[in-house]
Amino acid sequence: MQKQAIFQSKLLPYALVAPQLAIVLIFFYWPALQAVIQSFLLQDAFGLSTSFVWFENYIDLFKEPAYFEAILRTFFFSFAIAVSSLSFALLLAVMADKPLRGSMLYRTLLIWPYAVAPPVVGVLWIFMLHPSLGVLSRYLRALGVDWNPLLDGNQAATLIILAAAWKQISYNFLFFLAGLQSIPRSVLEAAAIDGARPMRRFWTVTFPLLSPTIFFLLVVNIVYAFFDTFGIIDTMTRGGPGKSTETLVYKVYTDGLLGGNLGSSAAQSVILMFMVIVLTGIQFRFVERKVTY
């Protein structure tokens, strides 16, 4: 698609694009290229010499069981966060979509956590469920649960998933509500006239019509769980105890900074880049389809 009415100028358009182009080249393409180059290099222990090692960093990575575990863990976290957050948000959106008194107020009261930063989410949740001073931990212990997420890896993982899902509720709610409101009332009325009860109407009419939104949100939630959980993990568990909450992004961070293993960290970055490109590709294809609906 192109505009018919345009300006004629030789230099002006380049001048207008220049600032963005400069920033993109310096802070995006150059570092991305460096990451790729770095991933083929190996530095000796003292950082004195660097040699080109082809795919050695990648091969080492895939020989390392910890890396596989981090991949599996990241996918598990993403799945758990997406499913729990999406289902709860869908329930709330279906309720808020009904012609209720004060529905605008409900919307306001449910969307604001979008603005809470991941590290703050981490601080709020670790405070609430801290083993010694957490308010909710008291009740858990009263119920007989031996609650200590600072020592128990599974409990730490549960905590991260809950906190990350909590933050994402508002976002999912907002998009579900928009999706629900775009379903024509007449379709639901037709189903009602045919004698379908509300539950049946939801599963046979609303849910299928909502599937583009669900798919879109699924991708967004997975990308969120991959990257934006960094702040939550860093303030709550720092990847621990052991490595029980170390995701792929967190591993890039620790291997590069604390471990000083830049070659491996760069190789991990490149693998992550591929994963994001695949996810975004899936999302773009879907968006195109939505446009032609």
């Binding site: 358009p13 993109v24 570092p31 809470v116 509720i169 508002s170």
Partner: protein, 282 residues
Amino acid sequence: MVEEEGFRRYIAHIILWIGIAIVAFPVYLAFVASTQDNAVIANGQMSLLPGGHFLETYYQTIFVGTSGSTREPVGNMMLNSLVMALLIAVGKIAISIISAYAIVYFRFPFRMALFWLIFITLMLPVEVRIYPTYKIVADLHMLDSYAGLSLPLIASATATLLFRQFFMTVPDELLEASRIDGAGPFRFFWDTLLPLSRTNMAALFVILFILGWNQYLWPLLITTRDDMQTIQIGIRKMITTTDALTEWPIVMATAVLAMLPPVFVVVVMQKLFVRGLVETEK
């Protein structure tokens, strides 16, 4: 009309209030903790009602900071966060709107190549290229500076794409009309296109401000000086020291202060926020 019996409506109200409670409880708890005495909290005996230390805690948090190792007033951190968020939001909108203008309203060699060069940046968040980016910022001597905090986060195409889509919907007749009036590319941009883009710019600003304010990993890497910390980094450093020494009321007051500006923006500018969120995700 789809029938909605009274009973079902009650259920809906109840479920929504439960949802609101779940969403609000951690934040309520943070506020309550920020008004109580540290010793009581450390004992695990915290009450669920606000205490009497509100003014004292918030005064210390904003103007003095913790009494531990990093003694940095949170007020200063908030200022850093504010400057960073504004630079990111304004910078991104400014460079994006002019490059989108060039791409839509001019024909020039490599136009589409340049568009794709910018477009591809959509795909990769800063997290996957942190160390090389860190090295470049260090080489440019931009560590511990506002430029280093904001420039790498401006390098993304969301806004350019949005403005491009919007410009495509602007009727060609407007350009023809202002051309007849003798307007050149600058006049047309300033007098016609910019006023038309106002709502889009505002919606985008709201989203970018929130994203900028909430940045974490990048500032964590490139700020080493305490006086350049953003509030998100400051809060993490406060709980670094061993548990027993953590001053929870101050940590929680900082958490509340860190949430206040972006939550305020969402609630007060809800229409723009929703619009911006839906548009940027397309």
